[in-house]
Symmetry: C2
């Protein structure tokens, strides 16, 4: 037999995995909806000029490009059809690409539909994205993102609400998490007051390692990244801030008094913590000045969620961006959003055995097929089971009983109905509970009730 | 502002369209589940050698190919890098393609996972497919298919069950439909007994037009397609068969007595109609000897569903294929399946206004945001609404009342809560019913009950 397989970094989802993934998506979705977020979907393919230049140089390389249909060389000049022209050639022979994330397509959607949209617009989107990354453990070329964003409002109530949503989602999953927040304006303010405005990235990359390598090594790294000794000195009071978040923020206000942006960031965080401290949440929310997150489009609050029990990186993250749609020419639309990492959440729930036992909603009862006459009789009974909402099967072939029972077993069907000559005469069903092995003789109505009750239990 | 748009033949789905599409998918899915079908999903990308050669020459051209990442010319020899080599070149620079339908990926899935699968395997799959067709009204380059198949069983009970499923799905939609069935073996038998075994396609293409152009014109076309006068003569008793389906099938049995395949097809249809006649269905099921359907892999029963009220082509179709996995080297796995056309169903439901009014499950109540103090008070009330499962929003900004009310209107939010100084003192909410314009003063618990009851009504 020929060897068949699927592209590297992609996956098939079999029924068991599907049931678990749906549990994850529907849990997240239910919470999004409770807060008034509405779903949209965008096409898998976007025009390449929508995608190119939005994810940095590295991102452009990771875009899957779609070869133009028909004579894809027709627009390529003879002088261009050579190896020296690879990058250029790729955009000459392909004008579409697969979606790389949900954020840029959402920005494109907002600009394109701006006249139909009712702002502030709360949308969520759960769809696959594709990246030509090197496949490795936990990193796929096709994976799902679950994003919620609200755009067209600068209110910090939105940041608060998204943190509440995050807390509710993970509470429903039964996962213990920490929520860390920071603000890009504070980071910019810090870079400003230590006189290294252009080294924001170097500073955040180094600060991010404090937990791992300690203050001394971080200072060393900062110097080796070109920060002046004076700047590193000035940074120390910030690194060594202590106390609760209000205390830290008050101190920070003094330290950043020379930076308007910095002060604005501090005030935003004070406001956000006022909201948070008035609300009893399951997760703890901590101010983390070392939190930067990679994406450059964040301009205000940054949010990151970590599992307390499994070391797997962030399971959810997000932030405020003041100019997302600016890349498409629509200025002054501020937004804030979070994105849940379905694959990592799956791994955590799996590892901690947190998936609910009844996550599968497969067949509840299988009728064994003993022969023509029995089959005919059974077919008159099935509609009542299905009308009661019970997933019901009859084995399609008159196979050996053992084969039919092992089919039920493999599919984890909890009840099997045995209907032979005897049952037909007595107008009853013999119902076998596959877990206990017990058999009961029941009327059709009794059997339906029996299964419905078992389903609730 | 730059003009942004999406690739030709693709669509964005806004919240209203999403709600309607979900209604369609979940209705179909609920019925699939009631019959024990389980969901799977496969990757958007398949290896090109999985897809090529499975849809005919025309189909190969309509595949969207994905340009290899990195230096896609590295495997192309200098002598091959020219325009004369387009088709070959396309498979040298791309090794993956987007899924063209759900059937071939399913066949690939079955072969790849054959050792984990519990046969007979009932699976359903609802995913988008992509075709580089010329976009036109009702034809898209990205569209969803909803397929249910059972494979690993030759029992005609499966055909019957899929017809039952079809009936139940369209009954739930409130759509009036006709189900037409035929059998490929009968068509082969007819071609055989009239001595034109190789002209099966010509015969079925012509027969398919009988309703439109009448018997005479069909006979003319058959002759022009190269059928002998004798063959056309022999075909007449078949074209003119009358009576109910059993009568037709009995007559056909005589006419096809010289063809083993034909007789087998007739017997299969007799058996299928025995099942159908014992079951009270909403739709009528008719034997239609002119029904052929395009796909060449059908080998037994063929099923087609037409709307009675809207002329739009078939809204569902399917059939039996004896050798689907044979293309991947796994022989002797017979299957039968149906595929629902979500886009056409959408159009019919839309045109006949059959979408349920409450198909949208958006926000149920919006709290107007009058100011800081009111906001703070309202935030203590919201958790109770959400805990009761009520989709609840507070307007994030302290905007003018008119703006907030028009937000509620545009989002079709049925209730608005007005909580000002007066309400805070009295510890009540003023709830405005947006449809009637009536206002009521209610406690939080009363308001929650009020909304829950309205939701059921």
């Amino acid at each position: 037999m020929k060897k068949v397989n699927i592209p590297k970094g992609t996956r098939d989802y079999s029924p068991d995995a599907m049931a678990r993934r749906r549990y994850i998506f529907s849990t997240i979705e239910d919470v999004f909806r409770l807060y008034g977020y509405q779903p949209i979907e965008t096409p898998a393919m976007e025009n390449l000029d929508t995608l190119l230049g939005k994810y940095g140089e590295e991102g452009d390389k990771l875009l899957f490009k779609i070869l133009n249909s028909g004579d894809f060389l027709s627009g390529v000049g003879d002088d261009q059809l050579h190896r020296g022209n690879i990058a250029r050639l790729s955009t000459q022979i392909s004008e579409k690409g697969l979606r790389y994330d949900l954020t840029v397509p959402f920005a494109r959607y907002v600009v394109q539909h701006r006249n139909e949209i009712n702002f502030p617009f709360k949308r969520y989107q759960i769809q696959p994205v594709w990246r030509a990354d090197r496949p490795q453990k936990g990193r796929y070329r096709e994976f799902y993102q679950c994003d919620a964003d609200i755009i067209g409002s600068r209110s910090l109530l939105n940041e608060f609400e998204l943190i509440e949503i995050t807390d509710m989602v993970f509470e429903r999953f039964g996962m213990n998490i920490d929520i860390r927040i920071n603000n890009r304006k504070i980071l910019a303010g810090i870079a400003e007051v230590i006189g290294e405005r252009d080294r924001l990235t170097d500073i955040t990359v180094a600060l991010d390692k404090i937990d791992k390598i300690g203050t001394d090594k971080v200072n060393e790294e900062l110097r080796s990244r070109g920060l002046s000794a004076e700047a590193v000195d000035k940074l120390q009071p910030i690194i060594n801030l202590s106390g609760d978040h209000f205390r830290k923020l008050e101190n920070l206000k003094n330290i950043l008094s020379g930076s308007e942006t910095g002060i604005q960031g501090v005030n935003e965080m004070i406001r956000l913590f006022e909201y948070l401290d008035n609300r009893d949440m399951k997760a703890s929310v901590e101010l983390d000045l070392t939190l930067a997150r990679g994406l450059n489009y964040y301009t205000g609050a940054i949010i990151e969620v970590l599992s307390n029990d499994v070391e797997i990186g962030s399971v959810c993250g997000g932030g405020r961006y003041d100019d997302l749609t600016g890349i498409f020419g629509l200025e002054d639309v501020s937004g804030v959003g979070v994105s849940f990492g379905a694959d990592r959440i799956y791994d955590v729930l799996h590892q901690l055995e947190l998936f609910p036992e009844k996550v599968s909603t497969g067949t509840r009862i299988l009728f064994v097929n003993f022969g023509r006459e029995e089959e005919k009789y059974i077919l008159t009974l099935l509609p009542a089971f299905r009308a009661a909402g019970i997933e019901t099967e009859i084995y399609p072939d008159q196979a050996k009983l053992k084969k039919q029972m092992s089919y039920a077993n493999a599919k984890s069907i909890p009840f099997v109905a045995l209907v032979g000559e005897n049952e037909i005469i007595k107008n009853i069903l013999t119902i076998k509970d596959m877990e206990t092995g017990m058999q009961k003789e029941l009327t059709t109505q009794e059997a339906i009730r029996h299964i419905l009750v078992a389903n609730e239990g």
